[in-house]
Symmetry: C2
Subunit: 174 residues, 2 copies
């Protein structure tokens, strides 16, 4: 009997959402299962995760989509177009049947800011291959997304070093 594929969401304002998705991906890869990790926001290829992912090049496909959608955009419309194109790609990946897990990293923003159509997303998620796991990360996940999900964890910040004036640390934050 095939497994039931879950829809998992890591949301909230705290640290650890992408990191948990990353850990989940590498754990699945450790089982020899194929995973596709699609990063919707972070545009840089310099992150340590890229190097870590490279160890699993047979099991993990990693995509940083388009220009990446950023908060300090010089061209918001271009970023939005890239995000929409990224979602079209993600749809194909979800429907391909080639993966054990698909991660849509920092995806919630696309819905929260109405960059892509909510009904389209819900329909694709409802119609996903039965055994596919989908993991979505990002702040402020929509209620409809939470409703649809099997597992939702809110990463809640209790304490953050930036409050103490400590800068981001290589190997920890990126």
């Amino acid at each position: 009997m095939k497994e039931k594929g879950l829809i998992l969401i890591f949301t909230g304002n705290g640290k650890g959402k992408t990191t948990a998705a990353l850990g989940m991906t590498m754990r699945a890869a450790g089982h020899g299962m194929r995973t596709c990790f699609i990063q919707f926001i972070k545009g840089s290829w310099k992150y340590g995760e890229m190097e870590a992912m490279a160890r699993f090049h047979k099991e993990i496909d990693f995509h940083v989509t388009g220009r990446g959608f950023t908060w300090k955009s010089d061209d918001l419309e271009k970023d939005k177009a890239a995000a929409r194109k990224a979602w079209e790609k993600a749809k194909k990946v979800i429907q391909s049947g080639e993966y054990h897990t698909v991660v849509l990293d920092e995806f919630t923003y696309l819905l929260r800011y109405d960059i892509i159509d909510k009904e389209d997303v819900l329909e694709v998620l409802r119609g996903k291959p039965a055994d596919l796991h989908i993991c979505i990360t990002g702040r402020e996940a929509l209620g409809e997304l939470i409703e649809l999900a099997d597992l939702v964890t809110e990463m809640k910040p209790i304490k953050h070093p930036y409050q103490k004036g400590v800068k981001a640390q290589k190997g920890i934050e990126f």
Copy 2:
């Protein structure tokens, strides 16, 4: 100038604590940084993370300590003794200066259930090498531990598949 090493805590009852620590460890390893991951509770060597870790055998040292401390113990005193021995080992690892990051996975229970001495733990953490990052995971982190930490995220369960009667999934939960 050396980095300031942080004390990070992933606590709360939700999913993603160990997974985030795992992701952090592999990200640091992706930067070529050495990490020591000490598992205080889970005793099995069958987990996908073990296989994932093996890809980083040069950067990550992984320890499953003693018998492992379990909730269905047939010999609680033996488990406690093993946990205490594990903490002695962890102290040496912390003080060795050989690592960029040390993860004490599911460590909070040892304090919560008074298996090891709280003052000893706080002293070791306060006296850690200045550039060492320490990541502690587990439910119900003590207030004194949170007080000492630089970054604390509470993983808060919003929804869990077991509530729906779905069993643990290979590659997702383990």
